[in-house]
Symmetry: C2
């Protein structure tokens, strides 16, 4: 272990080694051909395609890193429990709630933050514009062949709070500013134009729209409950492109069903939403099926972020996207 | 006539006079109470409420300026023909095609450019996002209570051409940039990131979306004809938030009906679109009823711009929004 790689030696424990080089690349377990190709773009990495439904081979058991693909979660959890040298699981998602409790001791998890933020923020703007500019109303009038000039509302002067000043929140602020919306970010970590959750709570009734952009964790589960909704002003809009579990669905149906609030949702609890669920037909609720981050090229962007994160680890650095495990705790 | 007001004396002809002051305000004919209140905010202006369906009084006949409200166009045209000292008609619209041929000799027309551009650009972004993020598709699935994760397209990397680098075009560029769209403005007047109509014609097949943001004038009428549409690439989107007369409706129905192109329209020819018109049900055509510039507060914004323009005239300057008449020709 060299003096200039203390974090890696600390993080990787037994597997501590010199930074990888093109001559001595880091072994990365991957689960599909596309990931193999993406890993091949980094000279200091060497990909190995594995089948998580089989026990690991001797070579696989030497690996310190696994790049998790877009599916096969239960098999992958069983598989990684059999990898004694594993130190890092790199995902292609932004959310990581499924992994909580499923990452072995000593293993860290890094997500694909940066790959999905722009698309999720874009979805939020799309939904706000669709709502305020009455596009569903006009679509219904087109179906009736009726020219009916209702007056919508522009985003100019709209007061928008975004809970979560991370990747999605920052993109959303940048996207909303040219529309002259007043954007306030809410986060426990302070920053430019960021207010604290307590300050937000005091000012909550000021906002025309509140957008959720935080991960689902024990501390955030059902943070939008009946009391939260009661503090929102009449006619306000809740936007959820994050996770369904952030919201108490029954409380939301009550607040929207009464006509007091509007909800623009990409995620629901439960999810997928069963056909018989009353949320589908609650007045004022618009639902898209968890596609906020899903646009053409999404997997390519996620793989690029994943390879960048693994490359940091290979160079002896801590990946900037670690969210769980010893490397996250050491930050 | 003082030496420092040559433009006014030139423009206003017989009515040339010293710049207006609070002690000697400029008389402005207005057609509704709201306009009267708006004019009252400028100390150098004095509003006079008139009824355009009656012959002008002696006092009205001395006026050099009329602020035209949102309606009563034919009556107003007849009325202004009876005002011998009139030099400026100030409108509250961005488009001015109705006025061509209806402004008396020696009278200039100034529009409300700046009041509507942001709202029209916002509508264009709303329609592009709705289209590319498949919101109508998901609305139809919600109506069926079906969770169906289709993959949409983000605006990232989308090549958008905006024909017209004026107020709307500049707002549209500013709004689209945070989405990472590649925006090219097209105008006869060159500028930063502005290409000429000839250069656009050569590159037209490169663009994913083409948005119209030019006034309707003899030179632009039916500029989007069968040949224009044929130069667009397969699957491209035409956005028209400007004027229906810019587009050959039959050619557009043919191009969209075949499935080759998509059209997002706020304006149509004819307009209002009659219930029996086949454009309503042409595949790939989305229609809103001339509401791109119509949002809450629109009339207030338009009146504020109008008062600002008339104030320039009152100070002996040329209003910056003149589009027709001697003051426009003298620029």
């Amino acid at each position: 272990v060299t003096a200039d790689t203390p974090r890696r030696s600390e993080a990787a424990g037994d597997a501590a080694r010199r930074p990888a080089t093109a001559a001595d690349p880091l072994l990365v377990l991957v689960q599909d051909e596309a990931a193999l190709r993406a890993v091949a773009t980094a000279p200091i990495l060497r990909g190995l395609l594995v089948d998580a439904t089989r026990p690991p081979t001797a070579e696989e058991r030497t690996a310190t890193v696994l790049l998790h693909g877009m599916a096969q979660f239960p098999e992958t959890v069983k598989y990684i429990a059999q990898l004694p040298n594993l130190r890092l699981v790199q995902t292609m998602n932004a959310g990581f709630e499924w992994w909580i409790g499923h990452v072995p001791d000593g293993v860290s998890l890094s997500n694909a933050r940066g790959a999905h933020g722009r698309a999720v923020a874009e979805w939020s703007v799309a939904m706000l514009l669709e709502h305020y500019r009455l596009l569903p109303y006009f679509a219904a009038r087109q179906a009736e062949r009726t020219w009916d000039r209702q007056v919508g509302r522009s985003l100019g002067g709209l007061r928008v709070a975004v809970i979560g000043a991370g990747d999605i929140g920052q993109h959303l602020r940048r996207m909303l500013l040219p529309f002259d919306a007043e954007v306030t970010l809410v986060d426990v970590r302070q920053g430019d134009s960021v207010i604290s959750p307590d300050a937000f709570r005091d000012r909550q009734a000021e906002f025309d729209a509140i957008s959720l952009a935080v991960p689902l964790m024990p501390a955030t589960a059902k943070m939008v409950d009946a009391a939260f909704l009661a503090r929102m002003k009449d006619g306000a809009v809740l936007v959820n492109g994050a996770r369904g579990g952030l919201v108490d669905t029954d409380a939301l149906m009550a607040a929207c069903g009464s006509g007091r609030l509007t909800a623009l949702l990409d995620v629901t609890d439960p999810e997928p939403l069963p056909s018989e669920h009353p949320l589908w037909t609650t007045p004022g609720v618009t639902i898209t099926p968890h596609v906020a981050g899903v646009t053409e090229g999404m997997e390519d962007r996620a793989r690029a972020v994943a390879v960048e994160q693994i490359s940091m680890f290979a160079r002896g650095e801590t990946p900037s996207n670690v969210v769980l495990g010893p490397m996250a705790e050491g930050r």
